[in-house]
Symmetry: C2
Subunit: 137 residues, 2 copies
DNA sequence: TATCTAATCGTAACCATTACAATTACATCT
DNA sequence: AGATGTAATTGTAATGGTTACGATTAGATA
């Protein structure tokens, strides 16, 4: 997902282009391919906008996730975000606990178990693999 | 897992039998088959021990998880616990977001993807399915 | 019963997240 | 360009789950 494309997607919904929002997107495009904790986004953005508030960070992260520009997960009780993967279909991730980088896992276990949940309403699922990537080993 | 068996397991490691610890185990054996948030354990135990402290709850829950008497997961930013499943091998769970009850899913996706993670060190994985159980529908 | 140590209590700190009133910035229209 | 309407940000505080710790109590053992 490209920054301009993301900004336009928001514009169509009536959301405005702001320097802070743009900077958040920049941060994600610099550190691609990995989950970043909200805290890190805040610290990074403070370099350019010293007085930035928590509200701004979280409002934007949640909005961007809502609009599928970002995707999120929770690791060690902290929310993490990354650019949404739109290059291929539904898939899952290996997540490096060292650097946050991810590797796509092109397999969804839901197909294999659908019939075993007859009578249950499935709303969501989570499949994540944790460990160290080659770079961190 | 039976309460006496759990207490004995702890005794062998030098941990003492206390009323509070026993009560925690009782709570889990009453509400079997489902995840319970730490908060609920606290509220429940306060009926018998009004002055019980957070320290006691968390120390015991973490100890019991460490000793494999309980297993834990994080849902909506809150830690949840349940009796450890020791009746069968490694498996995963459907978790009802209404009542916390779980249903075993006898399929682990790790077998299918092991070879796709060559060069990566896998430490852990999480596969959970969320939705409503028949009772909550 | 004396002693040793685990366990608990009471309380506060911690930390990520959420909330909100006041102010400012962005986009649009005339 | 200037006025207007609304989204967005700021500054700050509250919330809520979790963690920490010194002082005290209770369980186990001899
Ligand atoms: Mn991906
Ligand atoms: Mn089970
Ligand atoms: Zn899937
Ligand atoms: Zn598994």
């Amino acid at each position: 997902m490209n920054i301009e494309k993301a900004i336009n997607k928001l514009k169509e919904k009536g959301y405005k282009r702001t320097k802070q929002r743009e900077r958040i997107l920049e941060i994600f495009s610099e550190q691609d391919q990995g989950y970043i904790p909200a805290k890190t986004i805040l610290k990074e953005i403070q370099k350019d906008f010293p007085g930035v508030s928590y509200d701004t960070i979280y409002r934007n992260l949640y909005l961007l996730a809502e609009e599928q520009v970002l995707e999120s997960t929770e690791l060690d009780g902290e929310k993490h975000f990354r650019f949404h993967c739109d290059t291929h279909g539904h898939h899952h991730h290996f997540i490096c606990t060292g650097c946050g980088k991810t590797k796509a896992v092109e397999f969804c276990p839901m197909d294999k178990i659908a019939q075993s949940l007859d009578g249950y309403a499935v709303d969501d699922h989570k499949f994540e693999i944790y460990g160290k990537c080659p770079g961190c080993l």
